[in-house]
Amino acid sequence: MTSYLTIRIFCLLAALLPVAIVQAQTQPLVKVQGVVTNRGNDEVMPGVTVRLLGPNAKDIATTDSKGRYTVTVPVNSKLRFSFVGTTTFEVEVRKAEDALNVRLEDKPGGLDEIVIRGYQKTTRDKDAGSSITISGKELQDVPVSSVEALMQGKVPGLNIQVNTGAPGYRGSVLMRGLSNIDVVGGSSDEDAFLTPTSPLYVIDGIPVDADAPGESGYQTPGPGVSPLSLIAPEDILSIEVLKDAQATSLYGSRGAYGVILITTRQGRATIPKVRYSGNFFMNTPPKLRPTLGGKAERDFKIAQILKYGSWDDINNRLPNTPNLSDSLSAYYNNSTNWQDVFYGPTYNHRHNLAIEGGSNEFNYKANLTYYDEKGIVANTGFKSYALNMNMTYKPNSKLSVFSILKGSLGKKNKGNGLGLLQTGIARNANASSLLPPPSLYTSNQDIIGALEVENDNSSRNLQASFKLDYNLLKGLYLSSTVSYDTWIGTEDAFTPAAAFGQFAKVFAYNDSKYTVYNRNSISFNRTIRKAHEYSISAFNEIYLKGDQAYAAEQRQLPSDKYIGPIGYNGDYLQSRGGGLLKYNKSRAVSFAGAFNYNYKRKYVLNLTYRADASSFSGNENPYSLNPSAGVKWNMERENFMKKLTFIDYLALRATWGKSIAPTGNVFAVYGTYEPYGFYNGQQRIGIQYDAIPNPDLGAATSTSYNGGLDGSVLNGAVTFNFDIYYRKMERQVKRLDLPDMIGFNYVASNQVSLINYGYEGRVTVRMLPRNSKVQWNLSVNGAINKDILTRLPGGVNQIVFGSTVFHVGRNSLSNYLFKTLGVFATDADVPVNPVTGLKLRNGSGSNAFFQAGDPWFEDVDGDYVITDKDRQVLGNSQPLMFGGFSTSLGYKTWGLLITGSYTYKRDIINAALSSRLRMAGNPFGQQAVLPVDDLSYWKGAGDIARYPDPINYTRSGVVNPFRNNQSLFQEDGSYLKINTIILSYAFNKQQLKRLGINGLRLSATAYNVAIFSPYSGPNAENVTDLGYDRSDGYPVPRTYSIGVNVDL
């Protein structure tokens, strides 16, 4: 009791003392009050210390639970606001103010940083999981259609390759290396791609499928707009990327490939705020290929024929090839630059308007965005309109209601191609320059197809969600979330008669998709004797999902003017009528629980458990189980560390997590049955002899370990995170093609195992002192990832898929190629089989003997015949190391930000080069010729050259010298890319006040600025997942943008 009294007296004295001093100085006193909020997430900050500076410096107040403070201080005194883990803020008080509101910024990677685990907020020091947070501010000023591309190079371990420039499409995203070795699609190697293993996105607490409805890989039917393309970067408050099993375990099996949490802004300002930002940007195509034009092309082809052609070629075929022999014909006497017809710069714009405001009891936010980008390939583009609104209502301290309403429309123009690949355009851009340019009379069908197909693809999304939080008892919280998400996609494409065999056609597609989601949770936390803090939480999730897609195509419309009616069967042989493409319905139920404990925030223990069941997995053993555990040691809180004052914090963490998931579905386990008509007058129902039922299809397990070290020294001058991980994936499902003697085409086998291990790190350095006029920050991150295939189905050692080989004991995806030893300089260099006296030849059945000027492929099996058996494992299509860097310079209100990313050690097949060499060897074709003078190719006997002779066109059919699958075209695809350069200037706030504007900021941005690479092709990043540089992919444009941000 006595101590209580003493404190009170002491406090009273403390309160009176400044008054006494002030009065002594006879300075007038003013009352200042306001709210302290966090600049990153705009949330109010309780517990912020307010300190009076000057000769009588002392702490005079702390903010209350609503972030409010009130102080009475002398005029012209200085106040400092500070809080653990944030920057400090100083202000001079000149007059009494009612709303001296202060915003403090998080220090990067601080221990008090808010992180989200299984939909619950916690602070980083209480969690052992591995995650990286990106603030929304890092994603500004760059106009891109999907925010995913901006995350490139920002998160160690998240490998994003922006490998398409197609507006509205996603590149490839891999978290911590390969987790699924399934390669699908593609009759040729260039068409093959990895099965997408996208991380799970959770936007404002609602899990979302990042893939567009109906999307699978490259060839996307339907409008296919990814939900990520419909979120404006300006609306993003922060993104947290969860990497290890402990962090992701509460998201269940869907989080197996990583979880990315996106939090959008919420209204906080007491005064309504209006923010506008706009970008005007220009996309420019990369340097196009030099091409021989007009006479040069004709002369080149004729010389080629005269040199190597047979008697028949010279005397018969050449005179009958008018584009070569009839140089006077007006039709063939051209020098058309086809690439210019299809590729060109475009001018685009983007606008974003946000309105937010409210108080602690009620706040709201509305964000309206418009994006319009025309692709650099003719007749392609992406447009979107999106509205994202949310509001919070807190009628009392116990109840809180949060609701979101989102509506958006995305429109994609795919041109004639199917999307990512513009094969039609590439074919046309390769047309002979002798052909006339497109005009009313002389266009060919393909060109009209590419330029004049009318394409109306739109994707509409409506999402509503509602979250209710209730604080039942002290420390006990209940929460319930319901959301409904629906997508409608339509595609209408009209091909005019001139582009389709003189009959117009029309294609109509529509799909719809819905998700109903519900989550209910209960959590309880308590601190015992100020040392033992623990929390228990549990929640369940329910999904109801469905989707369906229809398409109809009608050909031979009466004319270009009558489009439709669809469904009428004009040409019954070719019209496709209509039909259901897809129909799915599924349900899922999950239960999850977490237990967290810490002792004085020094020793942290996290335990989680989650069980998922889905209607896909059959009824017998539907649950997939995800346990995880983590420990963390916050070392700087130990007494022995107290003396090491230069350490801000230092934490060691270790986690373990496991996921056991039933693989496959009822069809994979029990087979699919189908009626097949009648036999002998009796009904037949049989099994589909496609996938053999696999009743032994067990559970796939994935076990991962993660160790990490986080730290910060010298008052935040250097902060760092390091992670080391090991992940073992066992019994993964892989489609295994079966031999004839099985009768079925394939089995969903779950005998694939692989391991991944790697290291990740990020270091951020404040290069100059905190109070320096110039601020310079540097951040570098990188990840090394290795994967090893440890088991394949059927106990086999290797499986070949096109030019990719899965080989046990090696990296999972290796290139399987002919090894090119060189080019035969003379005929005498060709090896001769001493047994038969025959020269090395190509293929088993032919007389295709190699000769001077042909490539020398290594004859692995020693039979002097080059067949597919002579291929060998060479190269790895997956990168060894990847990461990024960023550096920011600030001086007064000027800012310069440069970000980049890099990929190290990855093998690329330069298919663009091989096709260029092939094109030089086709004189009778109506294709352009790309000059090959710059290449070292074989020209005559005795030449030691790098490339075989492309001019001798007769060899291509005999030995196929420019096959893609040879080591000659495999190159190192390492690259360093300057992603963005942003220069910004903010106008002085005081001056702006007079204009009634709170803020005005201008920026100039260059995006995809430059790429440095030993790779000889155009762009080492613009290649397929499996490292094929397709010359007909969608080139990545360079973008220049001018942006303006206005705060009203």
Binding site: S615, N680, G681, I685, I742, G743, G794
Partner: protein, 505 residues
């Protein structure tokens, strides 16, 4: 308060756990999954039908009966050259290549008979492909597995019959493959997905014999519904298949041949004494060829009336009949004929009714030759609505005769032989004839054009003797597999254990 809250929570959890399974059950409406199949006898019936249909589709989809069973014997020539040419001469040249055992040319994809499309596609290449045979085998294995697990509404007795039927279908497929390819990959478990190598065919057939012998008596003796006569498994069909397998093994497993002959004789006796089958009047023999007759034992039949379709090359008879046995749209003349020297030799008995009733212009060696044995009402498909007959009663009688002769039970053998001769109103066996040769010749006569002759030549090794065939093989050719078919190279894919037939490499 806390207590109340906890109990509510507990109730909620209980409720959600119990209703969870129900909630998760989404019946796919667009596809039928295996876990909701096999729920009634009708499901099993529909599945059996599918298995027979797949076997039918495989053997009717290509020229199995003609190319594999008849043409390779070398007695048939295409009607090209001479006065009455086939209207389809180019394609029919293939027959000569079969006749000299040049199967490589016959399956050459660039040849006219392989490049045709639609109804004129002979699909000879497809005969080398295994996949469809193994689909039937996998299906049979799956059916056995499912019925064994129990199907609601199927009694124990019915289940036993279905299981025996699955075994029967599997054995029939293996036997058919063995005759074509020699060694095959053998498995009986459902869901076989691991690749296997080939296994000696004698052993394969022995396994088939053992399992079919065990299940045979679970099969019905006959079906009440005439629709199933001949086309579904019966005790008689299983016995006839067992006889065939025994006779095949007797030829290649010489050490144990008497055992095989004894079994054949006993099984033949069983079929005869069951009184289910009978030899029809010689005037009605063409009715037998249409299927579902009193004489048919193992048949495949897809009636045009029931909406069936088939490849005309499925039937050996297709090339051997001339108008009016076929529609004039198919050409007036037959596409092929038997060499007159051969027919003169086997039909030496002038009183034999088969000479007069079965042939038109028997010895003409050109397109007005017709095998009237296959006459019948011409269906909309331009041919009589034939069945593929793998075994009929006369075949069984003669097989038994052969086995008995090998066992030197001549008297009984002669009785059997005479049963067939008497139906043809031919002369009885004469003691001057060599009994075994007489039985073989009798089979050649009785089963002419039914796709069995070449297998008989191989089985009795008469293929090695120029006296018996126009296309003899040397012993070396025979031993290295000259009697087999080439196997599609695709069989090697993804199967390290697989080998092809070396003779054709």
């Amino acid at each position: 308060m806390k207590k109340y809250f906890c109990s509510v929570l507990l109730l909620l959890l209980l409720f959600s756990a119990s209703s969870c399974k129900k909630f998760l059950l989404v019946e796919p409406i667009e596809r039928l999954s295996g876990n909701i199949y096999w729920k009634s006898q009708a499901d099993v019936e529909a599945f059996v039908n599918d298995l027979y249909a797949r076997f039918w589709l495989k053997i009717s989809g290509a020229a199995y009966t003609s190319a594999a069973g008849e043409l390779r014997a070398g007695e048939i020539r295409p009607s090209i050259g001479g006065s009455y040419n086939s209207n389809d001469a180019n394609r029919r040249r293939a027959y000569d290549f079969f006749g000299v055992n040049d199967l490589r040319t016959a399956i050459d994809p660039t040849r006219a008979w392989n490049t045709s499309t639609g109804a004129n596609q002979m699909n000879i290449v497809s005969m080398t492909r295994w996949t469809e045979f193994y689909q039937v085998i996998q299906g049979a294995n799956l059916m056995y597995y499912q019925v064994d697990k129990g199907v609601p509404g199927v009694s124990n007795e019915q289940a036993a019959a279905y299981k025996a039927e699955a075994i029967y279908i599997r054995c029939l497929t293996y036997f058919f493959m063995v005759r074509l390819f020699g060694d095959v990959a053998y498995y009986t478990n459902a869901f076989q997905a691991e690749p296997l190598g080939r296994e000696g065919f004698v052993g394969v057939l022995n396994k088939c014999i053992a399992e079919l012998q065990a299940g045979k008596n679970d099969l019905p003796l006959r079906y009440d519904d005439a629709v199933f006569r001949g086309v579904r498994a019966t005790r008689g069909a299983a016995a006839a298949l067992l006889m065939n397998m025994n006779m095949w093994n007797a030829a290649f497993d010489e050490g144990n041949k008497s055992k095989y002959y004894e079994q054949t004789a006993a099984l033949g006796e069983e079929i005869i004494s069951s009184n289910v089958y009978q030899l029809v009047n010689i005037n009605d023999i063409s009715r037998v060829m249409l299927g579902k007759s009193e004489e048919g034992i193992i048949e495949f039949k897809e009636s045009v009336d029931a909406g069936g379709t088939y490849n005309k090359f499925a039937f050996a008879a297709e090339m051997l009949v001339a108008f009016p046995e076929k529609a004039q749209a198919e050409g007036t003349y037959s596409h092929a004929y038997y060499r007159s020297t051969y027919l003169e030799k086997i039909f030496a008995d002038q009183t034999d009714k088969r000479r007069s009733l079965w042939f038109t212009n028997m010895l003409r060696n050109d397109g007005i030759f017709s095998l009237k044995k296959f006459a019948g009402p011409v269906s909309p498909k331009n041919f009589p609505d034939w069945a593929i007959i793998l075994c009929r009663y006369a075949d069984v009688i003669l097989m038994r005769a052969e086995a008995l002769a090998e066992l030197e039970q001549d008297e009984q053998a002669i009785n059997m032989l005479n049963m067939v001769r008497r139906r043809a109103q031919a002369q009885d066996y004469d003691i001057t004839e060599n009994l075994k040769d007489a039985i073989f010749t009798e089979r050649s006569k009785e089963l002419i054009g039914e796709g069995i002759h070449y297998y008989d030549l191989v089985r009795t090794k008469r293929i090695l003797d120029g006296a018996w065939t126009s296309a003899p093989l040397t012993a070396a050719q025979f031993n290295s597999g000259g009697w087999t078919w080439p196997i599609s190279e695709s069989a090697l894919n993804r199967n390290p254990f697989m080998t092809l037939n070396t003779y054709w490499q």
